[in-house]
């Protein structure tokens, strides 16, 4: 093996190692979705909580936001609710918003009676879940204080995964 081959093989080995370590790290962390949004301003979205009025992302600008798309009929959404509620308690600097999708207002009210959310939830009245590339609930989008989408996750969140993404928007 001459020097040039050695250098090339060595370079390949280093690049391959970094690549494999990165992919391994990726396997340890849950996948995100909606790449077109990442790094871009969050599309406008507003919900109408049962208490009245509207909560829109524009009003929340300046604070990090966890935007959770859910539905009253969706089992995994109920499953992740305690995780979201606990994170809401321990991260007062972060706003949480629950946007009900593919749902009825009656369904949302009934769900609230049995499993109340500790943050504003309601049907989407401005913008759409499609603009976030969400296909089905639950899906969660993480928006930083500048209003930029930093990460998104589809499927029910568990506590370590949520903590990982929260650290991205509220370091």
């Amino acid at each position: 093996m001459n020097v040039r081959t050695g250098l090339l093989t060595g370079g390949g080995a280093v690049a391959g190692t970094v690549l494999m370590l990165s992919l391994g790290w990726g396997l340890q962390h849950a996948a995100m979705t909606s790449p077109h949004l990442l790094g871009h301003p969050a599309p406008p979205l507003a919900i109408q909580p049962a208490a009245g009025g509207q909560v829109s992302l524009a009003q929340l600008q300046g604070k990090p936001v966890v935007l959770n798309f859910w539905a009253s009929w969706c089992g995994p959404c109920a499953q992740e609710l305690p995780v979201l509620s606990a994170a809401r308690e321990s991260n007062p600097q972060v706003d949480f918003v629950g946007a009900a999708m593919q749902d009825t207002s009656g369904g949302v009210e009934a769900f609230e009676k049995s499993h109340s959310h500790p943050y504003p939830v309601g049907p989407i009245v401005g913008g759409s879940y499609q603009s976030y590339g969400v296909v089905g609930p639950p899906a969660t989008v993480f928006i930083n204080a500048q209003g930029v989408v930093v990460a998104s996750f589809s499927g029910p969140l568990d506590a370590p995964t949520l903590a990982h993404y929260l650290a991205l928007i509220a370091p």
Binding site: M1, N2, T5, G6, L8, T9, G12, A13, G16, V18, L19, M20, L21, S22, L23, G24, W25, G26, L27, H29, A30, A31, M32, T33, S34, P35, H36, L38, G39, H40, A71, W73, C74, Q102, S128, Q130, G133, V135, G136, V150, A151, S152, G155, L168
Partner: protein, 645 residues
């Protein structure tokens, strides 16, 4: 129930056969035992035949609606039209892995049948590498992702195919892309076998080049069909979004494009041998990397399969392939000394070397953009790059490649004399005239002023070459050297694609509007009138259809809702296509006051992309089908400086 046992049995038997073929072929190649080499190869054929049986069983399960099979219940239902039920074979994770293995088995068998002339040792090692790859896929199919898993209770109906996949394109896009991916294993196996057997002669390169060309053609078709699918089915207004799934399909294509050119340097001048091995191996490693990325869901993508247990398996497989390739190249590349001296920088060889550097540079740019979320995540803060990164980093490389497409074919192999440089005047004049015309027309975008004139120059170069051949002896020279002229035709096709991409990229117009019935909107000189909307009930979904009058036609963009799938909703775009522009209407939603919101785009010359794609495939097919053996003339002695060869 019986189908599950038949299918699982066939897969298990195929696994045993493939594992046996791998071990036996390695050993038999090592000791050059001709009988055992033959046995090893036949064991690979047997494994391939068993994979065919498993595929037939799965297809039978789908077509007979055997919902006792979890795969059938998860990906089809009674309402799904039959062609799509058949296509669900590759619509889910497990089935698509089986399809991958099927293509590997069939193409691998074909390549082994045709490998007799390469000598028993090389053929044995190739069979061993192919069988090892097949063994890995069969292990995953048997242990982790079996399409023959049974449900405890047989449901009366299935869940149905993902709505995005319920499209006619489903019948052609996924099988071509998956076949493209699988086929890169064939040139890789023969490259690895040649390194193991320490051989790098003309026979090897002709054989490998033929299968690299098959893989490249399938991948070209797959990429184009993917773009067509994104444009017509996903309905976001574009055809290429630098999504990881697109990137991982593009990278092996770029690496193989480099190989198809640099292999000519080896054929004609005996040079770049180690480099050519490196490119073939790189293309396959990129395929394994891409398969891992798409199937593990580690990076954000529109296109990942559901996150599943197979990620770590592909991670381990990629690691093994990387180590195998690096060790093999490290041990053998030193011995692959080039036969001749390097040619002058301004020569055909110089142009190919520079083109290879640019293509590999483009691979590096795309790879970095794809893995950045992971590399940056590993070191702290996750970062992603957007379209502008690719435009700025890969754009200049692609522009330079266009320049080389214009100049390279007119340069002679050894050294460019004055006569051959004079041949460059036609493309230069064409580029200058085009650039001046665009400036006068008011175009000020530098990328557009570079890309389109250079594309025209590349086309003029090919036309000049065709003209010269016809002037010499009508069609006879074109037919007798059809590999070369087929390549020029492919270049012309690529130029047409580039013009379509450039026009739609630089001059796309877009408007978001909310209209009440009867209201008009005008965009890019086109007038559209919103006529109203209606609800339609179809077999498996309902559609809210908006009617948009456009000239004497009515465009009908719609929102489809699939009640059976938790109310999943999907956009159906309406497109009016002409040679100059597409009018592309997306129905964003209906409002309570009777108005409707639309996003309307005018995408110039998108149809050129599809037309150019067809010309590329045609060029490659016409240039290579029926060509028994590529026999270009080696240029090892000094060539006359007069006319370009």
């Amino acid at each position: 129930m019986i189908l599950a046992y038949l299918g699982s049995g066939a897969l298990l038997a195929a696994l045993i056969m493939a594992g046996f073929a791998a071990l036996l072929s390695f050993w038999a190649g090592w000791v050059e035992n001709l009988v055992m080499i033959q046995v090893g190869r036949r064991a690979f054929y047997a494994a391939a035949a068993l994979v065919v049986c498993a595929s037939v069983v799965l297809e039978a399960g789908l077509l007979t609606h055997d919902f006792s099979l979890a795969y059938v219940a998860n990906h089809t239902d009674l309402a799904t039209p039959m062609p799509l039920v058949a296509a669900a074979f590759y619509g889910g994770q497990e089935g698509s892995l089986l399809y991958w293995t099927l293509v590997l088995g069939l193409l691998g068998s074909a390549s082994l049948v045709a490998s007799a002339s390469l000598g028993p040792r090389l053929a044995a090692y190739a069979a061993a590498v192919l069988a090892s790859i097949a063994t890995f896929f069969l292990v995953v199919l048997v242990l982790v992702a079996s399409p023959f898993d049974l449900l405890f209770v047989t449901p009366p109906d299935g869940l149905g195919l993902n709505p995005v996949l319920r499209d006619g394109g489903m019948l052609i896009h996924p099988p071509v892309v998956l076949a493209g991916f699988a086929s890169f294993a064939i040139p890789f196996s023969f490259a690895a076998a040649a390194l193991l057997a320490n051989r790098a002669d003309a026979g090897w390169i002709a054989h490998t080049r033929r299968y690299a060309l098959v893989a490249w053609s399938l991948q070209s078709a797959g990429l184009l069909l993917g773009m067509w699918w994104a444009y017509h089915v996903l309905g976001w207004g574009g055809y290429w979004g630098w999504d990881p799934v697109e990137n991982v399909a593009l990278m092996p294509w770029l690496a193989t494009t480099a190989y198809l050119h640099s292999s000519q340097v080896q054929e004609r001048r005996g040079r770049l041998r180690a480099w050519n091995f490196g490119l073939v191996i790189l293309a396959f490693l990129l395929v394994v990397f891409g398969t891992f990325i798409v199937r593990s869901g580690v990076v954000p993508s529109v296109h990942t399969f559901a996150i599943s247990a197979i990620g770590p398996w592909f991670f381990a497989f990629l690691g093994m392939c990387l180590v195998f390739a690096l060790v093999l190249l490290g041990l053998r590349a030193g011995g692959l000394k080039s036969a001749g001296r390097p040619a002058a920088a301004v020569s055909r060889e110089g142009a190919f070397v520079l083109q290879n550097m640019l293509l590999i540079g483009a691979v590096a740019v795309v790879l970095w953009g794809t893995v950045l979320p992971l590399v940056s995540g590993l070191f702290g803060q996750e970062r992603v790059v957007g379209e502008s990164y690719y435009d700025r980093a890969a754009g200049p490389l692609f522009v330079l490649i266009l320049g080389l497409m214009a100049a390279g074919p007119l340069l002679p192999w050894r050294r460019a004399g004055r006569t051959s440089l004079r041949a460059l005047r036609w493309p230069l004049v064409a580029a200058a005239v085009m650039a001046a015309f665009m400036m006068v027309a008011g175009v000020r975008s530098l990328p557009a002023l570079l890309a389109i004139p250079l594309a025209l120059a590349a086309a003029v170069t090919c036309v000049v070459e065709f003209g010269r051949a016809i002037a010499k002896g009508r069609l006879a020279p074109i037919i007798s050297r059809r590999r070369r002229y087929g390549a020029y035709l492919a270049h012309i096709g690529l130029v047409v694609v580039v013009v379509g991409v450039a026009a739609s990229h630089f001059w796309q117009q877009e408007k978001d509007v909310t209209l009440t019935p009867g209201q008009q909107v005008s965009i890019g000189g086109y007038q559209l009138t919103y006529a109203g909307m209606e609800q339609r009930q179809l077999a498996d979904h309902s559609e809210l259809v908006a009617a948009m009058r456009f000239g004497d036609r009515t465009l009908e963009p719609a929102r489809a809702t699939y009640a059976g799938l938790g109310g999943q909703s999907l956009t159906h775009v309406a497109i009016s296509t002409t040679a100059t522009a597409d009018v592309y209407v997306i129905f964003a939603g209906a409002n309570s006051d009777g108005s409707a919101s639309f996003r309307i785009l005018v995408n110039p010359m998108v149809s050129w992309i599809w037309a150019g794609g067809i010309v590329i495939i045609l060029g490659v097919v016409l240039g290579n089908v029926g060509q028994r053996r590529a026999a270009p003339v080696p240029v090892l002695t000094p060539a006359p400086l007069a006319a370009p060869s």
